[in-house]
Amino acid sequence: MPPITLAALKPYIMMVLIVGIGPLGVGYLVLLERKLMADMQARLGPMRVGPQGLLQPIADAVKLLLKEDVIPGMVDKWVFWLAPCVTVTTALAAFAVVPFSSDFVITDVNIGVLAILALSSVGVLGIILGGWAANSHYPLLGSLRATAQMVSYEVVMGFAVVAVLLMAGSLSMVEIVKAQAESHRWFLFGAFPFGLIAFFMYYVAAMAETNRSPFDLPEAESELVAGFMTEYSGFRWALYFLAEYCNIIVVCSLAVTLFLGGWLRPFPSVTWLGWLDYAAPVGSFLLAGGLSLYLVKRQPRAFDQIVLAAVGLALLAVAGLFAWPAFNALFRGVFWFMAKIMVLVYSFMWVRFTFPRYRYDQLMRLGWRVMIPLGIVNVIAIGIVLVLKG
């Protein structure tokens, strides 16, 4: 029995934090998406609940929890219950191997990448079973589409990941980031330009795996009502939603770990850029805090003013903490990791509001006739480059 210390308890604390804060973070991701969509369409987005609509996710969560839990009459009750649980469990479990920084990782297993791919392939089952159990036409069509799409694009994702594994020589997430630190470059630019091709393939496959537009055929609202989720409502629907956004964060964190240098700052080996470790977190939190305080006097209600002022002061306090060397040394990895994830998530949303949806046969043709051959050629090319370099 090892002694109970803070270091021994850290993985458990992180687990509790991820399972506890994860859903809240997902709520705010949805708010971000709505605000972004509103901005791109020259609207304001949710503004009523809280200052600038900041409390909207909490109101949504309460609404979903209080809704009646409808189970349609002819469904396969047992499978109907099981399906969302499977999806959400695997989505949250995938965080177990994600390295937020060299210190903040729940467990570093030597098959980390394989574990994430395995969990995401189990998560697909939840979608398939959910659509089947609903015993209705649109969900069944949605889950048939989801099956074919996810199986096809898993292969593409596999080839993109193999390209990185060739460069890193390890399946452990932490080792992959360390390999990038040793080779003085992100694997995005490794074996130039083939790393870029691998990243592009990963990006497209990740979008297809998480059912994001332009590949959101399994839940295409203009064709299939809501696809596999049509018969779900209330809390179960919320579980699917939670799993979907968790999966987005997981694939983005895998992309950051594999291609964008994980917790390393940009240009990790250029020493004179070391000031970035302080400037970037302090600057961004100062900016956010200042903006909140600036917006305080525009709020119509006293309650909103108090909430927004508190948020602004908290952000300024975090900025101050990042200026403190001990805190900075511990948390700058987490900051860079989260910042890179946010950039990727933002680009996912950007793509969603920019491109029209693919047609189903176009999607399949893109997967099997373009992406997979490209992936095979890319892996061979990277192998040749690595052998030539020695």
Binding site: D76, W78, V79, L82, V109, N110, I111, L114, A115, L117, A118, S121, V122, V124, L125, I128, L129, W132, L140, S143, L144, T147, A148, M150, V151, E154, L171
Partner: protein, 167 residues
């Protein structure tokens, strides 16, 4: 102690899953319990320090083969079949044969019980095995590996040719 605990957990998942796989009426339920069995076996692989195989087991069996099964189950209409008799006409013969196989296997194990201690076995852990499996596959087993890849290609082409209505 912990080893035995996990062995019991996984073994009960495997056996229960296997039993329900062959007794459920609905093919989808059978598939779900088969998935539970496969995950249990992946757990035992982890337990036996074959972590790479455990990952491959989940990705290939659960993420590939079982998804394919579910896809086909959804394509074909099995509602009628679920309401019909589940066992075929020779079920008593089948039971006899299965019992014979069971008896044979257990008798074989009982007779060979003395052979299960390996004096030459090295104590200690297996080395981290992803790299080791890779080396073995690409060095000692190169020819079988190539044959397997050709077989996969043939199977893929065969499946497409058979299932497509017109080429």
């Amino acid at each position: 102690m912990l080893d035995q605990f996990f062995f019991y957990i996984f073994a009960s998942v495997i056996l229960l899953g296997g039993l329900l796989t062959i007794t459920r009426r609905s093919a989808v339920h059978s598939a779900i319990f088969l998935i539970a069995t496969l995950l249990g076996i992946a757990g035992l692989f982890l337990h036996l320090q074959a972590e790479f195989l455990a990952g491959v087991q989940v990705i290939l069996y659960v993420g590939g083969i079982m998804v394919l099964f579910l896809f086909v189950i959804m394509l074909v209409n099995l509602d009628q079949a679920a309401r019909q008799r589940q066992f075929n006409r020779q079920w008593w013969l089948a039971l006899l044969a299965a019992a014979a196989v069971c008896g044979e296997a257990l008798y074989g194990l009982y007779r060979g019980r003395g052979a299960f201690t390996f004096p030459g076995a090295v104590p200690g852990n297996m080395p981290p095995n992803t790299q080791a499996v890779g080396n073995a596959l690409y060095q000692n087993y190169m020819l079988p590996f190539e044959v397997a890849s050709i077989m996969l290609l043939v199977a893929m082409v065969g499946a497409v040719v058979m299932a497509k209505k017109r080429l």
